[in-house]
Subunit: 312 residues, 2 copies
């Protein structure tokens, strides 16, 4: 018999979905409260939870073998003061489609001139202004993991060219051209949309720097759906304020909620979307957990295992 | 030698694109003015033009063999008073991608709550409200021709179920379930989005009637990108006003520009987009023309030939 401890904001919904999936040999304790959960589930060998709750529970679960996070972002689990004597898996696959909805939703809002068109409508004015189109435009992805690969596929569906800037990987069939290392200006030069989809690791801090931003055409729009620290926000604010960059769609920030004093609130042509681009919907998360539990139960290797050293 | 008369709003752009394509044995006359064009191109056997100009030029081109329209909509060419002793081709294929951008742009605007999120931003408020998602939602298409098929493919890309209401066709592999004839209520009952993409023919007038609209769930949104007369606009305004229908995105109307007195201007939860969903970009149109000219020159059958009797 395995013992699962669920520590999430909505424990009853998660418990109901796991139970409905009929996992064999599995007893479940679920709570939103870490102290309550570890008291009732102290013998758990499996933990399913939000990163902040998992972090707090780790010292209290001596039999822990496997932790399934409900998020993609793992940086809070990489703190060297935390134990690493267990298998950590995160969520991948399910965020690609959600990120595609977010990114292409905003790209189409911009191309199709939806906001000026709505203003015309409110003024009672027939507005036959031609829209733009994504066809033939160039999408640049900084980071081409599972989410970036899904964005690349959606870009191809809409007839875009897709360029990728990666450390070394070049295995996504939907990316037309790869750039690495010192090729930031060459990568940025032809882009219509620069979409950043990187996790926080030591290597990714401010990877989108003034060199990359200054090389973008003035028509370009920056979209950040990864982590706030991966872009040099001073350079981004400056480029948007001076008009050297046409716009930005920012879902993530170094500090969240975005502080009232942040210059982003008043930066022109900027959309702020409050870290909502790819929420963890319980049905999606439980789908990944159940597949991994079946593997765990059979003794097979798990999907989406995190390498503590690489940080993803 | 063939003789092409171009009659479009932007004749020089069209002429330049056709010339750049290097069509063999082709002399070109181009004008925005019909009287000028037919005077200089009276011997033309090929006509490439906007429907209104084509209509006016038809009586003056005795050698006409083939007309390539720059539009998808052919209804103005079906007037029984007009000659039919020539091959008429319209534009298909290129509008599917543009319509997908339009339709899914607005679906995502709605699902991702972009307008309320923008209001929160303008108020300086961090707004972590969860978005909706297209995944698992049901898209209902009224009309599954080449444009509908592209919308169906895009719906599948975003993880939607796709239902189709057609006269009899059922050959699109991206449509999960087909409905016909008297099945309007069964078709409408489970839809999240009802997208109408029908041409104007005698058979399609008000095909989206009170019976279909009243069978929709109250969460449903109507999108019309076909022709204005295909929906019963009185029933649509009533359903939107009473809240029995959640919203509408309307690109086409029985009379365009939409008259100032139209109730649509003040109907709640309605987007009016001034017939801009799929403009005829000259590069796309000339691409179709050039492919058809190669076929014409070889004596092969042409793409997208219109059947005057069926009306499409």
């Amino acid at each position: 018999m395995h013992h699962l401890l669920i520590l999430t904001k909505h424990p009853d919904e998660y418990r109901g979905l796991v139970e409905a999936a009929g996992c064999p040999d599995l007893a479940i304790v679920a709570s939103a409260d870490v102290a309550d959960g570890v008291a009732r589930g102290a013998h758990s060998d499996i933990l399913l939870g939000d990163p902040s709750r998992v972090r707090e529970a780790l010292p209290h679960l001596p039999r822990l073998v496997w932790t399934q996070l409900t998020w993609a972002g793992v940086e809070s689990m990489l703190d060297p003061s935390l134990r690493r004597d267990y298998v950590l898996t995160n969520i991948r696959g399910v965020f690609g489609p959600l990120m595609s909805e977010y990114v292409f939703g905003y790209l189409l809002l911009i191309e199709r001139k939806m906001l000026p068109r709505l203003e015309a409508q409110r003024a009672g004015r027939w507005d036959p202004t031609l829209p733009g189109t994504l066809q033939g435009k160039t999408l640049g992805l900084v980071g081409v993991g599972s989410i970036g690969a899904h964005l690349a596929a959606t870009g191809k569906h809409f007839g875009m060219r897709v360029h990728g800037y990666t450390r070394s990987s070049r295995d996504c069939r939907h990316v037309d051209r790869y750039f690495h290392g010192a090729e930031k200006p060459a990568f940025a030069r032809d882009l219509d949309y620069l979409v950043v989809v990187l996790p926080n690791t030591g290597d990714t801090t401010a990877i989108v720097d003034a060199e990359m931003i200054d090389a973008l055409p003035s028509r370009a729009v920056l979209v950040n759906v990864g982590r706030g620290r991966t872009i040099d926000d001073v350079a981004v604010v400056a480029a948007l304020t001076s008009g050297r960059l046409a716009g930005a769609v920012l879902d993530v920030f170094p500090e969240e909620p975005l502080p009232a004093a942040s210059p982003f609130w008043t930066t022109p042509n900027t959309f702020i979307t409050s870290h909502t681009s790819a929420p963890s919907f319980p049905t999606d998360i439980v789908g990944v957990f159940v597949e991994n539990y079946r593997r765990f139960h059979r003794g097979d290797s798990l999907l989406y295992r995190v390498d503590f050293e690489r940080g993803y």
